[in-house]
């Protein structure tokens, strides 16, 4: 008897596409709703006044273009148009129009925030969006299968790289290896400092936590060996990103990386080295 342990875990391409579209729509939707609520911080009296920031734009013609785009009304309209495009993505799926608009408008939003609003979550959002854009343009040129394959692999490689690099650079730092870095960063975090009695102030626990994260992040590429490993990896990753949100306030990281998980599971299903 030949038992099939894998097929029930392998993500089909249509299901992976749908999961990717829905999770990305949710992630970018949360970001856009936050931008809409932040508009008062972006007017002339707010911290992010365009009158000052426009000096970042090196080209006078581009400066004039963005002056018009970043008036309060025009920028609000852009954000609301993004909401509509995201609803269309979530309910009806990706197409050339909604994905291209989301990509271009995302660049405009990033420029409004001097290149990045939240660092890593902006990077990952752009990675997933670029993957969707590749899929749509290759579909337009009659290569949908190649398009989605390229999309999933691009997202997976970037996502795996993010874990691997993040773990490897910590491994190279003595303050991470002895656990002190974790306590220092938690104290400096927006929800910090840690209470004097907090468990993570105990050096042995901080060291254990640091090594757990370092080893798990460095081992991330192994998740591609098997779909089951990829699923376990994604569950642990979701918990990891929740903890990052809880201690550092980075809610966008949670959603941005979650949107990359369907691609990871799909790609692991294409390899399945450990298939027996």
């Amino acid at each position: 008897m030949n038992l099939d342990w894998l097929s029930q875990f392998t993500l089909s391409t249509p299901l992976a596409i749908r999961a990717l579209e829905c999770l990305f729509a949710l992630s970018a939707g949360i970001q856009t709703s936050e931008y809409l609520r932040m508009r008062s911080a972006m007017n002339a009296h707010g911290l992010w006044s365009w009158a000052i920031q426009r000096q970042d734009i090196p080209n006078p013609l581009a400066q004039k273009f963005f002056d018009r785009l970043f008036t309060e009304n025009a920028f609000s309209a852009l954000l609301w148009a993004r909401v509509l495009a995201l609803i269309s993505l979530g309910f009806y799926g990706a197409n050339l129009v909604n994905v291209t608009f989301l990509f271009v408008s995302n660049l405009a939003v990033l420029i409004r925030w001097r290149g990045a609003f939240n660092g890593g979550s902006d990077f990952m959002t752009l990675v997933v969006l670029t993957g969707l854009l590749i899929a749509q343009w290759l579909t337009f040129f009659d290569a949908p299968e190649l398009g989605w394959r390229a999309c999933f692999w691009y997202i997976t490689i970037q996502s795996m790289t993010s874990y691997f690099v993040s773990g490897a650079v910590k491994l190279l730092r003595p303050e991470w290896r002895n656990g002190s870095a974790m306590t220092i960063f938690l104290n400096a975090a927006i929800h910090g400092p840690l209470q004097q009695t907090h468990l993570l102030r105990k050096p042995w626990l901080a060291t254990l936590g640091s090594w757990t994260f370092i080893l798990w992040e460095c081992a991330a590429p192994l998740a591609l060996l098997d779909t089951r490993l990829a699923l376990v990896f994604c569950c642990i990753a979701a918990l990891f990103h929740f903890l990052v949100f809880w201690f550092f306030g980075l809610n966008r990281f949670f959603w941005a990386w979650l949107a990359s998980f369907p691609a990871i599971v799909w790609c692991a299903g294409q390899i399945n080295v450990l298939a027996v």
Binding site: L47, I57, W113, G115, N118, I271
Partner: protein
Amino acid sequence: MTIYWVIAYFLVLLVALLYKTPIVRGPWLFLFRSFFPNWKFFHAVGYVPHLYARAGKLNGQGQIEWSDWLHLYPRQPQNFWNLFHNTQTNLGLAQQNLIDHFWADLNDAPDGHDPRQLVTYKMVSHFVDVKLAENFPDHSHKQFELRMLLDNPQQTTHTHVMMTTPPEVRL
């Protein structure tokens, strides 16, 4: 076959991490830096820039009386529902990112360069105006400084002032 490409990629990545490469800079590259993620999060511990500001008011003798220094560092309470909508925390994080960029700009500026020409200086100055107006509505002068704080797990172990602005009239 795919697995060999994946293994090769991560080996190249590992080698790339060990070798330092020159940093390419440019205004457009800065604005489009999201296309070139480095994925190095929370990796290095060291001096961290903190912004301090104070408000001044002219007294009867025409001299400025200063308030205590105000530490402009974002702190927010934890809340589970912020997972879905987290405006204030994200604005606070963006504010601290701005201070980090201001520090980086000061660090990269050539000797003798007037920092007041920096966009980040103007943004920080504008931010100080807004914050001081909230805390000291009738102040006439402002001053701010960038202090570098070195922490260990228990406390701040060393502080030095990187830059102090001259007293400026409130705009």
